[in-house]
Symmetry: C2
Subunit: 188 residues, 2 copies
DNA sequence: AGGACCATGTAAAAGGTTACATGATTTC
DNA sequence: GAAATCATGTAACCTTTTACATGGTCCT
């Protein structure tokens, strides 16, 4: 049982999902390809953590829908009580930023401009998602869903996403503002 | 040449370092163990990206100090001009947050309290580092080192760290403030 | 005496990505 | 007719972690 396995159980604790759906939905939290998900689901089924039902579809290909079982929920709750290991972030731009003085300002501007666009697009997608969650969750006046509703988790995660995006946008804009303009022949 | 290799070249573009030092310093940007670094350095040397000098020490074990070579600098500059791939973040707490309603508020409070402490400690370490960089860099009145100084990169990265820490601290405190208090028997 | 830090390496196992494989339906 | 989406799976490869291996110095 690795972290990805618990990640799948986490998603399945809200509702049954197919391997295809799980692959899409786990991306924001724990990126993984379908080639990793499908075999893992088979293993989770073997250990009775999840059950599997074949759903026949006429318009789309048939699919296997997985549901979490008692054993899976027990494992999930035990894992939840354990301290979360430190987050791991791997970002090429951090490495490039470190030796930014090796290249002309034009080159580094492109790097940060691209990243700024990346976060702006992400921010837009997040706002859309926040709107749709507000619809579904029976949130109070403060907009906060009750703790024991499955939307509480989604709500705090969406907020984290928003804060993180905003911080990164601010940082990129600040960096762009202090990179010197002009022809900028720093090398040679 | 993978990203870790370029990461090592990035660090070596500032100053020559031993494998041991490189292992320590790359952690904030691209976590890697020494078992990955040492063989990579040997490979970089084989391809003339870096050169290696054995430094004998009396108080401490002897060490190998690596310096970047022309070929390494060329490779580094070519890589810098390429767009940076998207950052990858893997955080167990995000997965746990998703199914937070599965456990009592006491359990989830511990999770977020621990993460809050993690970021507070990180914030403290960052402040110390920022102080020491300010000393070394011949920064202007605004505190910003010149673009072509090697401290420019360190400066913007330290600032990113500070912003990220602050955002995460705020988020953890906010989550703790909306997790209900009391005995909290949400699950029977 | 025990633990932390310095210092370098290899081997095995686990985790993750890319490529191979197939095939239907829908949208432009 | 081409591309995107839905849907599942395996194989090969690369990356990362954990464990094995060694040994000196410094501090308590």
């Amino acid at each position: 049982m690795n972290t990805l396995a618990y990640g799948l159980l986490s998603l399945l604790s809200h509702s049954p999902l197919s391997g295809y759906d799980l692959t899409q939905r786990i991306q924001p939290f724990w990126p993984a390809k379908h080639s990793q998900i499908y075999p893992l689901l088979a293993r989770l089924e073997k250990y009775d953590m999840v059950s599997c039902e074949l759903i026949q579809q006429s318009d789309k290909p048939d699919k296997k829908v997985y549901s979490i079982q008692e054993k899976g929920l027990d494992a999930l709750r035990k894992w939840l009580a354990l301290p979360a290991s430190d987050p791991v972030m791997r970002d090429e731009l951090m490495l490039k930023a470190f030796c930014i003085s090796q290249v002309e300002p034009t080159v580094s501007r492109d790097l940060f401009a691209a990243r700024l666009e990346h976060y702006k697009a992400k921010s837009q997608r997040l706002n859309d998602k926040i709107q749709s969650v507000r619809h579904m969750a029976n949130a109070g006046e403060d907009g906060i869903p009750p703790y024991d509703s499955p939307y509480f988790g989604a709500y705090i995660l969406l907020n984290k996403g928003k804060l993180t995006c905003r911080t990164n946008i601010e940082w990129c804009e600040w960096v762009l503002s202090i990179i010197p303009h002009g022809s900028g022949n720093t090398v040679d």
